[in-house]
Amino acid sequence: MNFKLKVWRQKNGTSPGSFKDYDAKDIPSEASFLEMLDIVNETLVTVGEDPIAFDSDCREGICGTCSLVINGVTHGPGTGTTCQVYMRRFADGDTVWIEPFRATAFPLIKDLVVDRSAFDQIIEAGGYIVARTGSAPEANSLPVPKHDADLAMEAAACIGCGACVAACPNSSAMLFVSAKVSHLGLLPQGQAERDSRAVRMVRRMDELGFGNCRNHYECEAICPAEVSATFIARLNRDYAIAAAKGALAV
């Protein structure tokens, strides 16, 4: 298969970027989208042109590293991550636009690579249960209803890729924050810090330049881990209760 690529090239975060045209030739339809870029990069190196920088690691859809906007769609066609897009989804001769995740809180590093360390900073603000190693009680001493455990798992499935932010017109990180707040808040182990966790994580999210939620639901539509936007409602409820209890002072 052959494709016309329009790829965002930008040397670094401070210099301006633009789209550049490339031909992707003789691409097997079984190739993944990132393997197609690998092939293009191999040909670029042989003609002495700087290869296109993009992030990827596990290429199994779980590590959350890959992060492209393909034809205007975060993570491209289909339900998974960028690395799970296969070229058979495109028609021979298609023009394909490739861009980085764009958000103020995700500054660009090079070409299609962005810095998502803001997510780590949000987790740092409270996205954990403090459990000193060695002090844990026997695991089965605390039963968790299967329904709660399953729901917590649905929230915990978030891979931290940032697609929710990239897809949101407000660049909001509410789906990401709500997933962690819900995962931990649904479990009995997570109750002790539940109020302060919600407040601290939301506050840090605001400080880092993410926008607020305006119920566009783009995040839910695009989330490769299928995290539901109902968790945002849960986050709002937790935040309101924490506020009512006076936990905003934390």
Partner: protein
């Protein structure tokens, strides 16, 4: 000077060794801990758990990872589960049984004392992870659920859907972020370790490259902990993440750390078959699928019919036929070898003929499609994405692929290498899995090393280092930093004709062919001739664009491939010198009449630890003999 290996295994009865060792270990008092700086390289299960726990204890920790966030380390991709001898299923499990299964699964090539400790600690790991909020699967009564895995006859595997590694890593990552917030850990993401610095023979620092700015700098500490994973990407195609590499451990090896059993590599039986030369990696389908999937090939060679057209009596469920008591749940090395065997006979399926069926139709008939969807839904979806086939309707096609490496840097019972001050955890060390790792044991070992072993044993070293602080201004640091810079400049100045990936792919094909699922002396000797030629060509003809002082992925890859080109030679040498078959190391010259691995306990019941002797010089082999007091060496049988 010959290095003498002291494993420092405590005396006394097996089940008392760890307790005794902790009782006799040195301590660092809480008020002294902040005076010690610890470098942790790697942020997977072992690294993140170690960094978080050491920080929690009050030490001053710096943690480094090449990924953009510690949450993305490759532990995240582990699917199936984590073993623990909780015996919640009341099916006869015990610490001793987990210990025994692991020793036997490893084909009697691991240390008894280390493995027993691992089995003991498995209990604490589950408690710890539940307390952190890891959402393990549960029964309707709210208690934890289990499933079974290959090589065992009990259900001791805890799991979180098909994403157990992800959930365990996020637990460790969150604990790490808590320590970062508390100020006890400083995190350096997108930072790659490129060398180890020794001062008076002790590991006291590292040289790193900031992958965003290209800045090369040094960090000093009182001790260095490597938790940098395995070397499976030496094969180019593997289930490892693209970034996984041998650089940290190989650089440490070149500074004096012994590399143990490098030929012990694990080929996982259930991966999606290779489809073409453009392919960048292989995708694993969790071993847990073998709980419900049945493995078969047509009885007839080159059978062109689609699987649904092949009647039951013309199918060969070869694992069930040959190993009736374990059936589809034989250990990985045996399942892989048998798949290769039936494909070599010409009975393989799929376009390449290198594939076998993993069929869920019986399980779907018995349990319903929904039950199967609930257990493995994400795996079936991934399979569909990659192959465009619906595994609910037609059997999956699978083939073995490189997955895990049991070999690694040699460590003693304290997880310290022969280089004082250099500790090695998780897949990066050699210690617990012998010649074959059982499923759901990698996560167990990573967390055991990180949460429970190193926080206790590291004090044995640190307590001897009071008042011996080094500074990164010392000449030893500058010297190694200069070597790293020179190497980077050299890589960029070659400007040859071949890309880094071309070299990597060529090397991978060679070692897969000669040092993969089956090895023989002739092939290994051929590989040992060719690898130095490839390496020489690499340093003359590789083309790396751009410069060092910027974000440069080709340069990162070039450095890693340069190290693989050196490491591969050691792996093949180790495979040549181990003239027996054991676990994942199958020498075709050494097999039983039935084609099973034939060990030679008289001559090879040892750890082969290799000492670097200089460039293009044969390394020295140092043996640690393995004593078995509690298990009887026997021919493994899963029949």
């Amino acid at each position: 000077m010959a290095t003498v290996l002291d494993s420092k295994v405590p005396s006394g009865p097996l089940e008392k060794k760890w307790e005794k060792h902790r009782g006799e270990s040195k301590l660092v008092a809480p008020n002294n801990r902040p005076k010690f700086d610890i470098i942790v390289v790697g942020s997977g299960l072992a690294g993140a758990a170690a960094a978080a726990t050491l920080g929690e204890l009050g030490y001053n920790v710096k943690c480094f990872c090449f990924q953009d966030s510690p949450r993305r380390a490759h532990s995240i991709a582990a699917q199936g589960g984590i073993n623990a001898a909780k015996n919640y299923q009341n099916d006869g499990d015990s610490v001793f049984r987990l210990f025994y299964d692991t020793i036997k699964g490893g084909d009697f090539r691991s240390r008894e004392a280390n493995v027993h400790r691992l089995a003991e600690i498995s209990l604490n790991i589950i408690d710890q992870c539940v307390a952190q909020g890891v959402p393990f699967a549960r029964e309707y009564g709210g208690l934890l659920a289990n499933r079974s895995f290959g090589g065992v006859q009990v259900s001791r595997t805890f799991y979180a859907r098909g994403q157990t590694g992800q959930q365990l890593l996020l637990g460790a990552y969150q604990a790490l972020e808590h320590e970062i917030a508390a100020g006890s850990v400083k995190m350096f993401p997108r930072t790659e370790m490129l060398d180890l610095v020794l001062v008076n023979g002790h590991a006291k620092g590292i040289v790193v490259r900031n992958l965003v700015t290209g800045e090369v700098r040094t960090h000093a500490a009182d001790t260095v902990v490597l938790a940098t994973g395995g070397y499976g990407n030496v094969f180019y195609l593997s289930t490892n993440a693209k970034g996984c590499n041998v650089t940290a451990t190989w650089r440490a090896h070149k500074r004096g750390a012994l590399f143990a059993n490098p030929c012990f590599t694990q080929i996982h039986p259930t991966c999606i078959p290779v489809s073409g030369s453009y392919q960048a990696k292989l995708t694993l389908m969790s071993e847990s699928l073998r709980n419900d999937g049945r493995v078969w090939v047509p009885k007839k060679k080159g059978d062109p019919r689609s699987p649904d057209q092949i009647p039951e009596e013309e199918r060969d469920y070869y694992l069930e036929r040959k190993y009736p008591s374990f059936g589809n749940l034989v250990p990985r090395d045996i399942a892989s070898r048998n798949a290769k065997e039936v494909c070599d006979e010409g009975r393989g399926v799929g376009p390449s003929g290198l594939g076998v069926y993993l069929d869920f139709s019986d399980a779907i008939r018995q349990l319903g499609e929904n039950a199967i969807r609930e257990r493995y839904g994400n795996l079936f979806e991934m399979y569909f994405n990659i192959t465009n086939e619906n595994a609910y309707k037609t059997p999956m096609r699978i083939y073995p692929a490189v997955h895990y490496t049991m070999g690694g840097l040699w460590v003693d019972y304290n997880l310290m290498s022969n280089v004082p001050g250099l500790h090695v955890l998780g897949e990066a060390n050699f210690s617990d899995h012998g010649a074959n790792r059982l499923g759901a044991s990698a996560l167990m070992q990573g967390l055991s090393d990180g949460y429970f072993v190193i926080p206790s044993t590291i004090a044995n070293y640190l307590a001897t280092q009071m008042g011996k602080k080094v500074s990164a201004d010392q000449p030893e640091f500058k010297a190694v930093e200069n070597e790293v810079r020179t190497r980077i400049d050299r890589l960029l100045s070659i400007k040859g004709k071949k890309t880094v990936t071309t070299f990597h792919r060529e090397l991978g094909l060679l070692v897969w062919d000669k040092c993969g699922m089956a090895r023989d002396a002739q092939g290994l000797q051929e590989a040992l001739r060719k690898i130095p030629e490839m390496r020489a060509e690499f340093w003359e003809n590789v083309h790396v664009l751009g410069d060092g002082a910027e974000f440069n992925q080709a340069l990162e890859h070039a450095g890693r491939v340069a190290d693989f080109l050196e490491f591969a030679e050691l792996m093949c040498l180790d495979a040549l010198e181990r003239k027996e078959s054991c676990g994942g190391h199958f020498r075709v010259e050494h097999q039983t009449k039935e084609g099973e691995a034939l060990r030679d306990d008289e001559h090879y019941c040892h750890v082969a630890a290799w000492e670097y002797a200089g460039p293009d010089t044969r390394p020295n082999l140092i043996k640690e003999s393995l004593g078995f007091e509690y298990v009887k060496l026997s021919q493994r049988s899963y029949k």
